[in-house]
Structure formats: structure tokens, C-alpha cells
């Protein structure tokens, strides 16, 4: 393979000491800014949805509600997140590996294709004849350009993954790093492998659906559509999980000088994601006809829960690595001194720790329980499902991305954050808002309230019935939490855009990276009882106890319903 060794212009960032390729920097900035713009759009759509499902407000008429819900799903779940992931991939491949970015023209093609694709789909939705939800289950049909936009967007993302891989090849050829890939790069690489599988699945189902919408293909089997669509839809969330966990590890390094407790354990856990995470696509198919229990159990459990095991490992090792770094730098008293003395007012840290907690306790625990073949029958397609995935995607992924954004603004734009007190508050506003939203909606879903539903009062319907008062109250509380999280999201957008446009320049001698604490030698000089991270271990046991309790609570509930055989 011919690899040019032409020098690319770069600068040494004073804050971090990192060598930043200027072409990569422009691409990272562009992708990140586009991401934040789409987050704003997705947030506005989300606000309209929340204000409609809040029973006392019930803002939009039915047609606009379903339109806003379609827009919210696509823009917030796909467009914002994947644009940001492109920024992360380019930053990590070039800056972390100290390398120039491969094929910048292809990278700009990625930006154009994804922007044009997202715009085309957005237009289709706003035209009103494509209110088919993000999932667009056939035989319900959208306008052809609804699918076309998604296809272009996906092709753009695929090109982005190619640029990332090309950069890894250049870095290896030009020996810009020594030994194995840093964990941050390794995690991103895992994410791109999952992304290629995801995008291939998306192409396999969306291209025929596009041709079907044009009348060139006669029918698409609705069951086959769901099976393949979810290989795309669910796997795209697995990219997000892999990306945000990589960011957790990275922020632990940047903010505490932490390194993984064990490279071997963390890398093996990431590898389990490649092998097993995509099997989880079947979570969406557990109530479907024609699939055997053996097939469902094998897949829904990610082959004996090996991907869950991987997530439980990351859930311990990331805070564990922070604990070890804190203890090494002297905060070695008691179980939780290291945690108390974390920089809670620093939005980078606050976003990250809230992301870890919300993803673990809300998104993670509920995800494991609801994907049990039988428990799924009392959860499938209720509003429990959006409750769950707002815990993973908004509370987990979006918060982690917000944290990294706060870190990168001074690095990439060389500006300080504006409104620092509000920036310190913002993660809590968003995190607490989305937690209330997720938990309350899961409560309402447990009582049967359906998702994607405009009017749970069934006004004017002869066969209508009334939901328990508790279900209605949960919907109100949940949507108030939703509004709170939108306020938090809007504040994030204001701070980001304001800082880029009007932030103070970064002072000349400022540093934004914490040196690794000195290893005083020997493993047993920190911690308690032979444990280097006893505090994290106790917190992990709390998570495990919560998971076990919640698991059996759901089986108890399941055992009271009609007998089904």
C-alpha cells in the first residue's frame, strides 16, 4: 500500500501538550458543531413530545405529535450522536495517535453526505407524509426521500469509519506510537467494527425499502424487515455504548491521570462487545411470531450474558481506575475520601460520573431485566421502553459526550467556557431531569401505558378505559423531568455556542491535563483489605444487589398475570 509521508500542518496544544493535526482539528470542530446544532433540533422536537404526553398539557394535535416524535427519534438518537462520534473518531485517531488524518477529502465527503442526508430526511418528515417513527416498520410507508436521506447519512458514517481505519494504518506505518494501541483508540476501533456491521445491516434493509417506496419492489416482508432493521437499530446503540465507555476511560485519564486498572481486563471486555453485543438486536423481537425460544434465549442473553459481563466490568474498572489514581495521589483514607474529593463542580467530571451512574443504575439494570424472554411480555412496547433507553442514550451516551465537549472546547477552539457556574450546574440539570423522566416512564410502562401514543385518555372511544391514577401521575412526573432535561440540554447548547463565539482566550500557561500520580511502588500501599479500589467495589456490590432485587421483583409481577403457555 502506498502511503504518502507528506507533512501535514499541525500545532502543539499548550493545554494538553498534544500535537493536533490542523486538518483533523477543522473536521473535528465541524462535526462537533453540527452535532450540537442537531442536538438542539432534536431537543426542541423532544420538548414538543414531552409537552404532548404530559396529560395536563397535551400540546400538539395528533398529526404534529407523531411528526415531532419521528423527528425526535431520528435527530436525537441518530444524527446528533453519530455526528459527535465522527468528531471523536477523528480526534482520537489523529491527536491521540499523534498522527495526520488519512484522506481529508474523504472526511469532508463524510461531513457533506451526513449533512445532506440528515437534511433530506428532515425535509421528508416536515412535509408530513413520513410520520413513520424512527423505525419505519413496513408496510407503513414513508416518502422515498425519507429513506434516501438515511442511506446517504449512513454512507457518510461508513466513510468516517474508513478515515479512522486509514489513520490507524498511517500511524502504524509511520510509527507515531510505540507498542499496542492506547485503550482510547482501541475502544474507538471496537466501535467502528460494530459500526460497519450496523451500517451493512442498515443498507441491507433500507435500500430495498427505498426501492419499495418507489414501486420498484413489490413487497417487503414485515417480519424480515424488523429482524434486519433491528440489526441496524439496536447495533447503532451498541456503537454508542462502546464510544461512551471509551470516553469514560479517556476522561478518567485526562481529569485524574488515571490508567485502566488492568489493560488486559478492559481490552477483553471490549472484545466481548464485538463478539456478542449485536446479538441484543433480538431484544426487540421477543414478542414476535415465528421465532423459537432457543434462538431468542441464546441471542437475548448475548450468549450467556457475556456482553452484560463486559459492561459490568467497565462499570467497575472506570470508577475503579479513578479511585486508584485518587488514592495514589494521597486521598487514601476510608472507603470514599477519593470520591468525596472529586471535582464535582467541574462539568467534565460531573457529566462523566453522572453518565456512569445513570447508565449503570437506570439504563443498564432495566435493560438486563426487560430483555429476559418472559419479562419482556409485560414490558414490550409500553412506555417503559423509552424510559429505559433514555437512561442509556440520553443519560449515558449524551451526558458522556457533553462532558467530552466541555473538555475539548478549550483544546480545539482555544476558548474558555462562558458562564462557568451555569456550566457546573448543567450536567446535574440534564442528568437529574433525564433520570426522573426515565424512572417515571418505566413506572407508567409497568402499569401498561403504551409508547408512541397520542391520547391515553381514549377520548370519545366506546371501548376506552381509564388508566390507574398512578399511571397518569407517573406520566406527568416523567414529562416534567423531560422538560427539565430539555432545559439542561438547551443550556448546554448555549454554553457551547457562547464559548466558541465569545469565550475568553485560554491563558498562556494554563494546563488542562492531570499528570499520572507517582506509583509509589507495590500494589498494596493503597486501598483497604488488599483491595486497591474498595470504595468502587462496595458501590459495584450496591449495583449488583439492586439488579438482583429488581430482577426478582419483575418475575414476581410476571407470575401474577394470566397463565400463558
Amino acid at each position: 500500500m502506498a502511503i504518502t509521508t507528506a507533512q501535514s500542518p499541525f500545532r502543539i496544544d499548550p493545554l494538553t501538550g498534544l500535537r493536533i493535526d490542523l486538518t483533523a482539528q477543522a473536521l473535528v470542530k465541524t462535526n462537533a458543531v453540527l452535532a450540537v446544532v442537531f442536538l438542539l433540533v432534536g431537543g426542541i422536537a423532544g420538548l414538543l413530545v414531552a409537552l404532548t404526553r404530559w396529560p395536563a398539557v397535551h400540546l400538539l394535535p395528533a398529526d404534529l405529535f407523531y411528526m415531532a416524535l419521528t423527528a425526535h427519534g431520528i435527530v436525537a438518537l441518530m444524527v446528533w450522536i453519530i455526528f459527535f462520534e465522527m468528531a471523536v473518531l477523528y480526534f482520537v485517531a489523529s491527536t491521540i495517535l499523534n498522527c495526520r488524518l488519512a484522506a481529508p477529502k474523504m472526511a469532508w465527503t463524510q461531513v457533506v453526505l451526513m449533512t445532506v442526508g440528515a437534511a433530506i430526511t428532515a425535509v421528508a418528515i416536515l412535509q408530513g407524509d413520513s410520520s413513520v417513527m424512527m423505525t419505519s416498520y413496513v408496510p407503513m410507508n414513508a416518502a422515498p426521500h425519507f429513506y434516501l436521506g438515511l442511506i446517504l447519512f449512513a454512507v457518510g458514517a461508513l466513510i468516517g469509519c474508513g478515515v479512522f481505519w486509514g489513520t490507524l494504518v498511517i500511524a502504524a506505518e509511520e510509527k507515531t506510537y510505540e507498542g499496542s494501541l492506547p485503550l482510547t483508540v482501541y475502544g474507538c476501533m471496537i466501535a467502528t467494527v460494530i459500526a460497519v456491521f450496523t451500517i451493512a445491516s442498515g443498507a441491507i434493509i433500507l435500500i430495498p425499502t427505498f426501492l419499495w417506496s418507489l414501486g420498484l419492489i413489490k413487497t417487503i416482508d414485515p417480519m424480515m424487515y424488523r429482524v434486519i432493521w433491528w440489526a441496524f437499530g439496536h447495533s447503532s446503540q451498541q456503537i454508542n455504548v462502546t464510544a461512551h465507555i471509551t470516553i469514560w476511560y479517556t476522561v478518567a485519564g485526562l481529569a485524574f491521570g488515571a490508567k485502566p486498572m488492568s489493560e488486559k481486563v478492559s481490552r477483553t471486555a471490549f472484545l466481548l462487545y464485538i463478539l456478542f453485543l449485536q446479538l441484543g438486536s433480538v431484544h426487540h423481537l421477543l414478542s414476535d411470531p415465528g421465532l423459537s425460544s432457543a434462538w431468542k434465549i441464546f441471542n437475548t442473553s448475548y450468549m450467556m450474558y457475556l456482553a452484560v459481563l463486559a459492561s459490568l466490568i467497565h462499570g467497575l474498572t472506570v470508577p475503579g481506575s479513578i479511585e486508584v489514581a485518587q488514592r495514589r495521589s494521597g486521598l487514601n483514607n476510608g472507603l470514599f475520601e477519593w470520591l468525596r474529593k472529586c471535582p464535582w463542580g467541574n462539568p467534565v467530571f460531573a457529566c462523566t460520573i453522572l453518565s456512569i451512574i445513570i447508565f449503570g443504575f437506570i439504563g443498564g439494570i432495566t435493560g438486563v431485566v426487560m430483555s429476559v424472554e418472559q419479562v419482556n411480555m409485560i414490558i414490550h412496547n409500553t412506555i417503559y421502553v423509552p424510559g429505559h433507553f433514555h437512561g442509556t442514550v440520553a443519560g449515558g451516551t449524551t451526558l458522556a459526550f457533553m462532558g467530552l465537549t466541555y473538555y475539548l472546547i478549550p483544546v480545539l477552539f482555544q476558548r474558555q467556557l462562558i458562564m462557568k457556574p451555569l456550566a457546573a450546574l448543567q450536567p446535574w440539570l440534564f442528568g437529574i431531569g433525564i433520570s426522573i423522566f426515565a424512572v417515571a416512564l418505566m413506572g407508567a410502562g409497568t402499569l401498561g401505558v403504551p409508547r408512541r401514543h397520542w391520547d391515553i385518555t381514549f377520548a370519545g372511544q366506546a371501548l376506552g378505559f381509564e388508566w390507574p391514577g398512578m399511571a397518569q401521575m407517573m406520566m406527568a412526573i416523567g414529562e416534567i423531568g423531560g422538560v427539565l432535561s430539555v432545559v439542561g440540554g438547551a443550556l448546554f447548547c448555549v454554553i457551547v455556542v457562547g464559548s466558541i463565539l465569545a469565550g475568553e482566550p485560554v491563558p498562556a500557561n494554563a494546563k488542562n491535563i492531570v499528570a499520572p500520580p507517582a506509583d509509589a511502588g507495590g500494589h498494596k500501599e493503597i486501598g483497604m483489605g488488599g483491595f486497591e479500589a474498595p470504595g468502587t467495589f462496595v458501590l459495584a456490590l450496591v449495583l449488583m444487589a439492586t439488579l438482583i432485587l429488581y430482577y426478582f421483583v419483575n418475575f414476581k409481577y410476571l407470575s401474577t398475570i394470566w397463565t400463558l403457555t
Binding site: S262, H380, W562
Partner: protein, 181 residues
């Protein structure tokens, strides 16, 4: 030394794993194995499992079955909406429920403690079968006929809500099952 974002030590693959991680991986791994076993075991020890019985069909054939079923066992018109027949099939029989935009039909009356083979399918788009307040949820497609064997353990009036989005009338899509003592 080093960070999460710098290249690891050369011996990273052979470095010993610290006690915190070893113990946690053991605990988490055991729980994962338990969950896997429990999900399988519930097929024998639990009373709530899917039969996974399903057939390929056509919307015309399924519509015909539902019509015949309705004609055969209609016992009265519904009190809430006199245009709707209420169908009371004998225990142990096949019950055909058809989803279409935007209704679940027919209204059926079952007996508590008796077992029925409930067939679920759609005559047009994808729909959701969500029995409330029991909160039992299944997916309905055109061309696929799913059979779930149900034994009501409570009496009363149960609503069927569509919880798979199916267009502008989705929120008006309802059905009903009566269960008498």
C-alpha cells in the same frame, strides 16, 4: 505509568489482575450464568411463556377465519357500542383476534380459569396487542398468525390497546375481552 489514552506498558498482557477486579468478575460472571439458567428454567417452573406457535397466512385467509369465528359464536351486541358483536367461544377453542386500522376485533368473552388458544394477526400494517390492566404484550403482523395459549386468572373487563404505532388513528385503536367467573 501512563494514561488510558497512552500506549500501555509492554507487558500489559501478562500483568497480574488486581483483587478488586478478580472478585468482581467472579461475582458478575456467576450472576450472568444464573440469569441464563433461570430464563431457561422458567419454561418449566413458570406459568408465563410464549408457545412460539406461529403460521404463515394471508390477510384474506385470516380475515375469513375471524369472520367465521365471529359468526359462529356471537352471543349478544356489546353494551358500550351496540354495533359490536360479543363473541363467546367455548373453553379450549381457537379464538381469532384481528388487528386492522384502527380496531381489534371481535370483542370476546372468556371464562375465568378456562384455557383458550388466542390467535393474533393483522389485516394491514404492524400492530400491537397490549392487554390491560394485565399488561400482556405481543406483536401482530400481516401474514403471520401467532398463537398464544391463555388462561385468564381474573374476571372483569380487559382492554386491548394497540401499542405499535400504526398511523394517525393509532391512539383510537382498541379492543376488549370480557372474562366472566
Amino acid at each position: 505509568m501512563g494514561y488510558s489514552f497512552t500506549a500501555p506498558a509492554k507487558n500489559w498482557a501478562t500483568e497480574p489482575i488486581e483483587r478488586t477486579e478478580i472478585l468482581w468478575i467472579t461475582i458478575a460472571g456467576l450472576w450472568c450464568l444464573f440469569m441464563f439458567g433461570w430464563m431457561i428454567a422458567w419454561h418449566w417452573i413458570g406459568n408465563q411463556n410464549m408457545s412460539n406457535e406461529a403460521y404463515k397466512t394471508s390477510t384474506e385467509a385470516y380475515a375469513k377465519k375471524t369472520e367465521d369465528f365471529t359468526a359462529k359464536y356471537t352471543v349478544r351486541q356489546d353494551a358500550s357500542d351496540p354495533s359490536l358483536p360479543v363473541v363467546a367461544p367455548p373453553p379450549g377453542s381457537d379464538v381469532y383476534l384481528a388487528a386492522s386500522r384502527w380496531q381489534w376485533r371481535p370483542v370476546v368473552e372468556l371464562q375465568k380459569g378456562k384455557t383458550y388458544r388466542i390467535h393474533i394477526s393483522s389485516l394491514d400494517w404492524a400492530h400491537g396487542f397490549s392487554l390491560q390492566p394485565e399488561n400482556i404484550n405481543f406483536q401482530a403482523y400481516p401474514g403471520y398468525e401467532q398463537v398464544v395459549t391463555m388462561t385468564p386468572n381474573k374476571s372483569g373487563t380487559f382492554g386491548i390497546v394497540c401499542n405499535e404505532y400504526c398511523g394517525i388513528g393509532h391512539h383510537a385503536m382498541l379492543g376488549r375481552i370480557y372474562v366472566k367467573e
